[in-house]
Amino acid sequence: MKRLNRDEMAKRVAADIPEGAYVNLGIGVPTLVANHLDPSKEIFLHSENGLLGMGPAPAPGEEDDELINAGKQHVTLLTGGAFFHHADSFAMMRGGHLDYCVLGAFQVSVKGDLANWHTGAPDAIPAVGGAMDLAIGAKQVFVMMELLTKQGESKLVEECSYPVTGVQCVDRVYTDLAAFDVTPDGLSVREIYSDIGFDELQKLAGVPLIDATQNRRAA
């Protein structure tokens, strides 16, 4: 079965982010999206620790320990970028000023509930960071994840079994096999990236899906 690797998924997400957008890329896989944004477009990357206009990693030897991203990796600031304190940074999320955020996930429910902060395992040390603020803050919340767990279970679920990060907050889910929109009628398949058909995808996803791939082709 054909499937996208993480870079290919990141490329699909990047293609849907328009010029002028204010965007937060979550820690982990979503940071790959930055590598695929069209360099001819001006897109503003926000980092929760207080910068807008985040640029790529610095050249070796140019790292500055006081210029880092949310994942605490060294980054750069683009010309025109800005620094601000934490309360302002989260006002940008919570206040609805961010256009997009891209997050990883353990599970997404058919209603758009997101679980991505805690496995719920009794011995796990909980850590939430900015995940709950991002989930409810950005105008469009995109999730990037493999459709299936390593055990072959679908991460699209009727109800999240992991503790939720936000309720009815996800707008779109990009996976290695297909992209889905969360709609009032349920999960709608935007595009299939694999060589499987809708019926096979439906079987793997394990939750009711709406086939909207024709609309997209027509558009």
Partner: protein, 232 residues
């Protein structure tokens, strides 16, 4: 003449009492006032409640304070990191209490304290474990959770340059929690790379006005590795 500058780190933290609530700036190690924390360890206060975004990295700074077993409770958003093993061990052995707060709620609770706000309704965390037992309200069709302000006895923060009135400017992403923590503590203590004469900081770019800062200590920093370090 008003002079908020202190000659030594030791004198700046001398009156921190056992059981104090202390805000410590920084996001990871960026903006963490490591030298002030070392002075606090030497000073010996214990049974502390610490408010920080994280719970220490490696064995220096906040992690060293935890390792010295001076901390009873930590309020933070993201304790678990690849190098948070000091906290991890204390937490697993039940030697430290954790209050986990979503990062934006942490920032806004600190801001609210500094701004004299008695609490606020936020959409963050609604319907999650971290809002269990909290008051909620439906406002214009959206669900909100009531959160209370976070006050502190002391704030230890790191800024870039300061003057004898306590005006501060910061450097790059080391700013993070510094400005809001300064406003939320009874006594805000800032370590700065350089104390400059009054009037040298451009009033148009002062980030933290001196009213929020009680003590300033100069701690020269080793040259930052970046070539563009003149942020102020």
């Amino acid at each position: 003449m008003i002079n908020k500058t202190f000659e030594s780190l030791q004198s700046a933290v001398a009156d921190v009492h056992d059981g104090a609530t202390i805000m410590i700036g920084g996001f990871g190690t960026a903006g963490m006032p490591a030298e002030l924390i070392d002075a606090l360890i030497d000073q010996g206060a214990r049974d502390l409640t610490i408010i920080n975004n994280n719970a220490g990295n490696g064995e220096t700074g906040l992690a060293a304070l935890l390792k010295a077993k001076r901390v009873r409770k930590i309020v933070c958003s993201f304790p678990r990191q690849t190098d948070s093993y000091v906290f991890d061990a204390l937490y697993r052995s039940g030697e430290i209490e954790l209050e986990l707060v979503p990062q934006g709620n942490l920032a806004e609770r600190i801001r609210a304290a500094g701004a004299g706000i008695g609490g606020f309704f936020t959409p963050t965390g609604y319907g999650t474990k971290l809002a269990e037992g909290k008051e909620t309200r439906l406002i214009d069709g959206r669900h909100y959770v009531f959160e209370t302000p976070l006050h502190a006895d002391f704030a230890l923060i790191k800024a870039y340059r300061g003057d004898r009135w306590g005006n501060l400017v910061y450097r790059k992403t080391a700013r993070n929690f510094g400005p809001i923590m300064a406003s939320a503590a009874k006594v805000a203590i800032a370590q700065v790379s350089e104390i400059v004469p009054l009037g040298e900081l451009d009033p148009e770019v002062i980030v933290t006005p001196g009213i929020f800062v009680q003590r300033v200590v100069e701690v020269p920093q080793a040259a930052h590795r970046s070539k563009s370090s003149q942020a102020a």
